[in-house]
């Protein structure tokens, strides 16, 4: 208490509440760091996996099938004798590039469209928004199954799939942020000052939408990773033997019953950690801009 208080009872009454508040702040701060550290580790692994993995992630070795975790094979080996540790690390790049790639495309498409939809308003903006809602109502897994089954498995298609699902999210989000901004006085005064619509959009409208977009970006990445892993689990998207968490879980699932849990569990933990990291970062970012 920096303010000397004459009223001791009041002082005492305030203290617990404040202690609680500081405690929460500190806890929140520590959590933030955990998420950022995890994120940094994931990015590091995604970039440098080929340099740090102990074994070739796609080299089969029939002599070393389904070995339990040991110092030799930290996460054990799978039914093809491939090193699970090397595969989990290498899969980070696959999963992250597909998920982040898809989300990046969707934000580059969805945010400007949403800004236009919200800023111009009118029938065109309304129409864009309705189209986005229509797309959002399509069940993603069913749709992805159809598309990937019809057009074949490819990573590019998977990226497109993710972009397809998340673009409407960014469109709606940006529209919802921009719509109330339109009637703000500083937008009116920018128009009175003769700034071009493009300049107003880039300098006055979009910067105000950056906070919500950043947080949604992270949350969408978490969602995208689930989609990548989920579709690959179903045998769509990334082709075996390219290391990918979902397909590894699927591949190991038949051995879990026989006690050979490591083939599925380690990639499963990786998916879980990735989703928690992105989800946590997203919530931190939204708490930060709403503060």
């Amino acid at each position: 208490m920096s303010i000397p208080s004459q009223d001791l009872t009041l002082d005492a009454a305030i203290q617990p509440a404040q202690a609680l508040r500081f405690g929460r702040v500190r806890r929140a701060g520590r959590l933030t760091n955990v998420y950022w550290v995890l994120f940094a580790i994931f990015v590091f692994v995604a970039i440098f996996a080929p340099l740090i993995v102990p074994y070739d992630p796609v080299k089969a070795n029939v002599a070393e099938r389904l070995l339990a975790p040991s110092w030799h094979h930290l996460f054990g080996t799978d039914s093809n004798g491939m090193d699970v540790f090397s595969r989990v690390l290498s899969a980070t790049r696959t999963d992250f590039s597909v998920a982040i790639g898809g989300v990046a495309i969707s934000v580059l498409l969805g945010a400007p469209l949403g800004a236009i939809s919200g800023y111009t308003g009118g029938l065109f903006g309304e129409a864009l928004s309705r189209v986005a809602e229509m797309l959002q109502s399509i069940p993603i897994f069913l749709f992805a199954l159809m598309v990937l089954a019809a057009l074949g498995n490819s990573k590019a298609l998977l990226v497109g799939m993710i972009a397809f699902v998340t673009t409407p999210v960014f469109l709606k989000l940006t529209r919802s942020v921009v719509l109330p901004l339109r009637s703000r006085d500083f937008i009116a005064s920018a128009r009175c000052a003769g700034l071009r619509p493009g300049a107003i959009m880039a300098r006055h409208v979009l910067p105000n939408a950056l906070g919500p977009i950043a947080s949604q970006l992270s949350i969408s990445c978490a969602y995208a990773i689930q989609i990548v892993a989920g579709l690959s689990f179903l045998g769509l998207g990334v082709k075996i033997p390219e290391p990918e968490w979902g397909s590894m879980i699927q591949q190991g699932s038949e051995y879990v019953l026989f006690g050979q849990w490591w083939v599925s569990v380690f990639p499963g933990v990786a998916v879980l950690l990735a989703v928690i990291t992105f989800g946590g970062l997203g919530r931190q970012l939204s708490a930060w801009y709403e503060h």
Binding site: F186, A188, L195, P207
Partner: protein
């Protein structure tokens, strides 16, 4: 409603100004209310000369701000100008394309709005916001624009202008924020500054300061000022010419001192009585301003007028020059 033009021609009223800058003639603006078009401005007549200071006084809803919006060509959605003309140095503004109009806004016609804090983007340092307007209209380098912004802030009485330019709007008090907004409006040396209730929401002491800043800066730049206010006292102290508007019409125009000393319209007389109460009782004008579209071809003030006659209810009075340079729209003045 008849579309017959006003009997007063702009040329006649332009005697008020030696070199007319902005001439508004028979400006009619309509809006849509409950699916019905209603007249919002019913033939505004006004002339602003170069370097002249003109005030528009009126109650809320009288069309003061709508007139300003019409001048800069940014009427709210659903509202449109149906007839009349606005000329800037002889150029018809409504004949200009949107890009041409945009080049005029901020450079020739500048606006200071009522809510300065709201008029500034909370995410951008104020200096950068002013420099941006400068760069939108003039070919100057970033550094040059920034220097001009700082110089402008300094000239408007913001201490430590160079440092304050890096501050964000929330770090400014209301009065200081209004100075920033004025700096943003004046950065391109406009010929006309439109100040729409620039002191609303400010403390009385700050109000006087801000008005003085506007008055001084307009004078030193030889820019014309269109001051919009509901406060007759402020307008007559700041302006050379006063126009009293009511329900979208100009009821009286004249040199500020003449209007204040010898008001011709019963409405203006009522306003002045409210300004200087003779007794302990607070005077007021009974009734309220009519809703747009609720009255036809008549004097809009007829229902509240102490001098109303039968003619007022059937025939709309036109502006006529009753005294030298002093017009009034009243049958019984």
């Amino acid at each position: 409603m008849s579309t017959e033009p006003h009997t007063t021609s702009v040329t006649e009223m332009s005697d008020l100004a030696e070199r007319p800058l902005l001439e508004i003639a028979d400006l009619r603006v309509e809006g849509i209310k409950n699916g019905r078009t209603v007249p919002l401005l019913r033939g505004i007549e006004l002339v602003i000369g170069e370097g002249m200071r003109v005030g528009i006084v009126g109650e809320s809803g009288s069309g003061k701000s709508m007139t300003a919006s019409a001048i800069i060509g940014l009427l709210p959605p659903g509202v449109r100008a149906v007839s009349g003309s606005i000329q800037l140095r002889g150029r018809q503004l409504h004949a200009l394309s949107e890009p041409e109009m945009r080049r005029l806004r901020g450079s020739e016609l500048a606006v200071v709005s009522q809510n300065a804090m709201g008029a500034l983007n909370p995410l951008v340092p104020v200096g950068a916001q002013i420099a941006r307007v400068c760069r939108a209209h003039t070919q100057v380098s970033r550094a040059e624009a920034r220097d001009r912004a700082v110089a402008m802030l300094d000239s408007l009485g913001i201490p430590n202008a160079a440092e304050r330019a890096r501050d964000y709007p929330h770090q400014f008090s209301g009065g200081m924020a209004q100075r920033v907004a004025i700096a943003m409006a004046l950065i391109c040396d406009p010929s006309l500054l439109i100040a729409d209730e620039p002191t609303t929401g400010l403390d009385a002491t700050i109000q006087a300061q801000v008005l003085e800043v506007i008055s001084d800066s307009v004078r030193s730049r030889e820019a014309a000022l269109l001051l919009i206010s509901h406060d007759l006292a402020v307008v007559s102290a700041m302006c050379d010419v006063v126009a009293v508007v009511y329900a979208g019409e100009v009821l009286e125009v004249g040199p500020a001192e003449d209007v204040l000393r010898d008001p011709l319209s019963p409405y203006t007389q009522g306003l002045i009585r409210c300004l200087k109460p003779a007794t302990d009782e607070i005077p007021f004008i009974p009734g309220r301003i009519p809703e747009p579209g609720s009255f036809g071809e008549q004097c809009p003030f007829a229902e509240r007028c102490p001098r109303v006659s039968e003619r007022c209810r059937h025939e709309r009075p036109r502006l006529r020059e009753l005294r030298h340079h002093h017009w009034v729209a009243c049958h019984n003045a």
